[in-house]
């Protein structure tokens, strides 16, 4: 039980009267890549955003149930979502670097969390993060250039660097490759595989091939329900639920 990084039980999410997530139980292991797949509108992104309480920014959104990270209830009134989000980083669907320099993009998180005591520390964090995000070689000579001037794939890797610069333990990725071309996608996927050594990665994806390539465990969502959750190999080769089978073979979704 304790080796689960995230454990969600009986999670319900409502948008006003719309019941978007219905009674989902998921346990996510540390240092693995967990993929959430399912047709559009099935609630996989919504569920992902409950894990770092990004849904708090939506007024009409209400979350019920029990979500624990390292055994701590993240919806406990004592939890400050700001602290939570430093521990649970996030990469979004569309690359969204700040319209600032590459350096400032990565340095922003460590700065506001006080992770660097001085400029040298900060430089080191920036370099380490960019290296981890496989962007260092391309960006080291133009750290002062605006992050928005990079190509789409580079921007997304910059966003990943920005997310890991705050030293999170969990990394949430919401369709990180949907706006990227196949080459950039391959680079990001490779990166995700490396990130697994340090973080617990949860990735939402539309592409089943991507889920099969990068994840160790896969959860299939359908109409707000978690239909099936297990080893990726098993989900793709021998699904238990007929709905999973239909989706994987392309009959629904």
């Amino acid at each position: 039980m304790t080796d689960y990084k995230i454990s969600a039980k009986g999670v319900q999410v409502y948008y006003g009267d719309n019941h978007a997530i219905k009674d989902v139980d998921v346990q996510i292991e540390d240092k693995t890549v967990t993929a959430f797949i399912g047709p559009s509108g099935c609630g996989k992104s919504t569920f992902l955003r409950t894990l770092n309480r990004m849904n708090d920014t939506i007024d009409i959104c209400r979350v019920v149930g029990d979500i624990r990270i390292d055994g701590e209830d993240i919806y406990d009134p004592a939890v400050d979502p700001v602290q939570l989000r430093a521990k649970v980083g996030m990469v979004f669907q569309k690359p969204n670097p700040f319209p600032k320099s590459i350096y400032d993009n990565v340095a922003y998180g460590p700065k506001i969390h006080g992770l660097a005591r001085n400029k040298a520390d900060l430089d080191e964090i920036v370099e380490k993060s960019l290296r981890k995000a496989a962007l260092w070689n391309e960006a080291k000579d133009r750290l002062d250039a605006p992050g928005t001037g990079l190509s789409g794939g580079q921007q997304q890797r910059l966003c990943i660097a920005r997310a890991i610069a705050t030293a999170p333990e969990v990394l949430l990725m919401d369709e990180p490759c949907s706006a990227l071309d196949p080459i950039a996608t391959a680079q990001v996927e490779e990166l995700i595989d490396e990130l697994r050594q340090s973080y617990s990665v949860v990735i939402v994806t539309h592409s089943m091939q991507q889920a099969a390539r990068v994840s160790q465990r896969t959860a299939f969502f359908h109409l707000g329900n978690l239909v099936e959750y297990g080893e990726t190999d098993k989900i793709f080769t021998n699904p238990e639920d007929p709905r999973t089978e239909s989706y994987i073979s392309g009959r629904i979704g």
């Binding site: 990004m54 920014t57 700001v82 602290q83 996030m90 969204n96 670097p97 319209p99 506001i112």
Partner: protein
Amino acid sequence: MSTSKHGSLLTLDARTKKRNAAEKRFRAYGLGAIVIAVAALAMLLISIIANGASSFRQTYISFPVTISAEEIEAAESSLLKTGAYNKIIQTGLLAYLTERDLLQDTPEADAFGMISGEAGSTFRQFILANPDAAGTTFQLDLLANGRIDGYYKGRVTAETAALDKNVTPAQLELADRLAADGALVKQFNWDFFTNPDASDQRPEAAGLGVAILGSLYMMAVVLCLALPIGVAASIYLEEFARKNWITDVIEVNIANLAAVPSIVYGILGLAIFINFAEFNQSSPLVGGLVLTLMTLPTIIISTRASLKSIPPSIRDAALGVGASKMQSVFHHVLPLASPGILTGTIIGLAQALGETAPLLLIGMVAFVKEYPAAYTADAGLFGEASTALPVQVFNWTQRSDPAFVERASGAIITLLIFLLIMNALAIFLRKKFERRW
């Protein structure tokens, strides 16, 4: 040659012809609308400039005057000081005219009448500022009477002068002789920007000094109050407030307030600031407060619009790395929105600068002959009666002397130049700080 189902592409079918004609018509309407708008603007500008451009040049009479220390002492100790100085000016003028043989058979009183009634006080100011002038002879440039000035601007002719009790044809002839002698000169009218208003009889001395200062003081009040209040309110409404019926009501009401006729703000200002808070009537402080109320909705609406235009992905990005709501707003959203906020503020200020109606209600229409004590160092700031540019225009258009029409048009040109500078600044700032992503 095969004919397809669609017929030949080289001939237009009826439907296409009709569509093309409609498009042509629409373009013509659009062009027509623009031509009308541009023509109206051009006519406005031409009429204002034709009327007002001459107010930036003023006719002066230039001749030598001698004054001794005793004369200064006598003048300063007399009851009507400027009257005494006028006498000295007249002596000087007479001496000059006789010396050059310009007077001929013009009555002396007519010759003296050509100098503005304001000349005595101008001369006195000059002597007080230059005590060394005592006992010497020096060249004085004194304002010519408004009718003489009008003669050189085409307002007054020998025919009209014959019917006018304020000027005689003999004066005009003398003026011509003076001009031929080089004693009557037209100069750039700096006094127009520094002098306070003058009475009905002295249009030549009337200036915008007090009005410009009053307007600047009011703009300072508006900027210091409306910008922080407006931006704070917008940020709260846009970024922090929960969307519910209360914020909906507030939003609708802000939009309504922006459309409220400005004179209503004048009534409000009269009731609150003058009757209740008992601030000085006609003071730039009250004017500024009223204009602040009027400008706030404009600033709030434009600030909210520019905050809205910042993509939510920037907020998500900041929250995603663990920034607090306030950090995401102040580190990312606000800097990106600031060009829009600045533009909105400057446009709001420009609107306030040109506003007349509310100021009339709080008494800023007052005739201000002297620089208010508020503008000197030892008086309470903003507390004294003042006037403002648009009110000065209104004031001058009420007067009968055509010389004031010229002054009013000159004041409108000045106001337009201020507005133009502010709008240009707004465009410049937006272009400079605008960031694209």
